[in-house]
Amino acid sequence: MHLQRFENGTVDVIRLPQRLTMADAATYRHEIRDLVDEGHTHLVMEMGDVQFVDSSGLSVLVSAIKAARSAGGEVVLSGLTPQVQALVELTRLHHLFEIFADEQSAVLFLDSRAAA
């Protein structure tokens, strides 16, 4: 399964699937790194459809932000369900990522960062 991506000005929105788990983690990690290598360095991870994430899925997010930051970009999260939000906070990832309630707010934030 491939990630869905939408360009929104200087920002790319990646709509993550219902499950973000070990089964697809390696594939997604490579897809996102390839995207960053192609110059798409400001990414919104839209997680409104994500119903389940495991620690391998979280590692995809960490890998993405490390790749983006090393290329001068940034990754933010949006649309987390209460369950996913709880997991992100438990694993302290809310200290690593800016988190937004919706995709539009996340895009606006990153767009201003990309323009700066």
Binding site: A23, D24, F52, D54, S55, V62, L87, T91, R92
Partner: protein
Amino acid sequence: MKQLLLINLKPDNIPRAADWIESICRSEGLPEMDSYQVKTCVVEAINNAVEHAYGFGKGTINIGLWKEGRQMMIEISNDNENSQSVDFAQDAEPVPESERGRGWLIIKSWVDDAVMKRRGGRTVVRLTKRIPI
């Protein structure tokens, strides 16, 4: 009554097993968030076996669920007694930028008790989750 599931480690089977576990937890009276937490912990235990017992290769996992008083008991076992052992009492605080090391923190935090032991040539992880009154 103890309910048992034997899963072959194919990519689609772990999510199915996880949904089965969540469904049983809900039917036994665990609230939605607690059931989600148990499901997540079971997936983490299975992932650990996939990586450390089977090296991402073929294998089977046994899952047993039963109710003991006001507790849900869940056992996840594999047939490799050389699986990596885990000290659940250790400090498992992750480094935010680390891509690894969150699985056991999740288990340690989201169930009331977690024990790993060797039994009859198998590695068994037993999880306990209290059912709120």
